[in-house]
């Protein structure tokens, strides 16, 4: 059993309730599409928190370590120059640039990881679940894998929550 259904909604409240109910009845939520981030949808879909924070922390630390090492290496090892009698390894003076490098690596690195992880590339093929999803439509895409669920239940649930359009898709699409 493998049916795929797509329901189109017009408000945040409806899509939240529909997602919650369909998941509670045992449907698998493929994804929800919305023109703006609907808060609470991750709970309705049962998604875990994003792990991007750890990625960001690791990248920022790597940037800081790399830049600190580079400054010490250039100033004290590769070509030491006596500037006003200051110590070759002027550690406190290296902190501002180290800090900037942490921010730069953390910010740009996290964005790149997010784009790669979400497969957002300029050449990405556009797969819109329904027209208007970037305007004012909310789309719930779900899959039925459990053959024991009563036929037509998902359709009825979605209709009860105000779906304006329900479509059954073949699995190859999307």
């Amino acid at each position: 059993m493998n049916r795929k259904l797509t329901g189109v909604f017009t408000s945040e409240r409806d899509i939240l309730a529909a997602t919650f109910d369909c998941r509670a009845r045992g449907y698998e939520i493929i994804d929800v599409y919305s023109p703006y981030p609907v808060h609470g949808i991750e709970r309705a879909m049962g998604l875990a928190r994003s792990r991007m924070t750890f990625v960001c922390f690791a990248l920022a630390m790597a940037g800081a370590a790399l830049m600190l090492w580079f400054q010490i290496w250039t100033s004290a090892v590769s070509w030491p120059v006596n500037i006003g009698g200051k110590p070759l390894n002027s550690l406190p003076a290296f902190i501002p640039v180290t800090f900037e490098a942490a921010i730069l690596f953390g910010a740009l690195g996290t964005v790149f990881v997010m784009l790669i992880r979400s497969r957002l590339f300029p050449w990405s093929k556009l797969r819109l679940p329904a027209p208007g999803v970037t305007d004012d439509r909310f789309v719930l895409a779900l899959r039925q894998t459990d053959p024991d669920l009563p036929p037509g239940l998902a359709e009825r649930l979605m209709q009860d929550h105000g779906a304006i359009e329900i479509r059954e898709d073949r699995e190859e699409e999307l």
Binding site: S50, T53, S78, F94, L104, T110, V111, F121, G132
Partner: protein
Amino acid sequence: MSDSTTALRPALVDGNRRPGDVTQDISSPLEGRPTWLWWVGLAVSSSLLALGVAATGYMLTTGIGVWGLNRTVGWGFDITNFVFWIGIGHAGTLISAVLFLFRQHWRTAVNRSAEAMTIFAVMCAGLFPLIHMGRPWLAFFVFPYPNTRGSLWINFRSALCWDVFAVSTYFLVSLTFWYIGMVPDLATLRDRTRSRLKRTIFGWLSLGWNGSARVWLRYETVYLLLAGLATPLVFSVHSIVSMDFATSILPGWHTTIFPPYFVAGAIFSGLAMVLTLMLVARKVMRLENYITARHVGSMCKLIIAMGGIVATAYSTEFFIAWYSGNPYEQFVFMNRAMGPFSWAYWTMVGCNVLTPQLFWFKKIRSNLLLVFILSIFINIGMWFERFVIIVTSLHRDFLPSSWNTYIPTKIEVATLLGSFGLFFTLFLLFCRFLPVISMSEIKGVLRHGRDH
């Protein structure tokens, strides 16, 4: 739903808009023909830009001597403009990042244009140290790169070198923040437009965005992280800019108050510039429903707060100069207030300390024309603040025989006007081709479809 407008939380968007209306209101000005007001603005700003390009071209082919700088006053308009523009940028980051972290939902109406302002202001700022070098084609010397001079590296102990890293990081991170924030809106434009060319361009830029909740979840986390990174960044950037001065031993520059003083001043000047631009964009792009009197009021209140910090810094500087017992320090400050540049000092005090006090009155805050005029006064005052700090500290140094004055030449004035031309040209082009208001964020703060 929408009837429950309470006295506690007035609606952020006027006119009872629905998500579809938001898309329509914000995208349609980009699809039709521009208003005559836009053309007038573009004509003026691009003429100024052309003037600046000509002045800079003349300077580069003739030499730095065409500026009014001399041996005593080695920094004048060039560095004043640099600090002024970089400061302007800071309010953009404050609005987009700091207010985001504080969950100030009213920022949604202004954050996109404030971020754009940041990027254009940092571009203007970066230009000045570049042309100040005199030989900008050698500008890459400021970066540490392996070279044939034995790999002679840059001096990482120098505040000017920190500045290179701070400003370039600031530019890149602001640009990323702005672009990432715009991806969902670019997707909206892509799905709306009828022009094949626009669809291709927006299609590339929007990275195949389809509003998937899984991506939204990750996207929002990253957006929060960027805001969290941009906040310390904005404080560090202007602190480092202030260290260009504070790490020297010149009286008037060599003070520990400089980093917080500069950051407060930067945000203060930037807020004034955001206000100026917001009031223009609101009229030119007909966004009265989105940029409401409430937004302007909130900005005015922020200006009062920042103006208070700036005023405190001015008086602290004077107090410490007296309290230090250092005659050189005392002289510099007396010279600032009563010397040959006292007119600049009192212009600064008038514009930065007195003008914001008018915003205490609700009548003034809600008179948009008056707010517009006052915001320009603050812009002028903050430009003079940097001029005063730089020129009055330099022109009478330790050796009276080398005392000198500084009279800017026409070329310098033309370059300053040119930077305004560049800034406003870029801003007007941005208003024309990209959504000035973040549609995806505005839709999220509407009352439509929610239980409130």
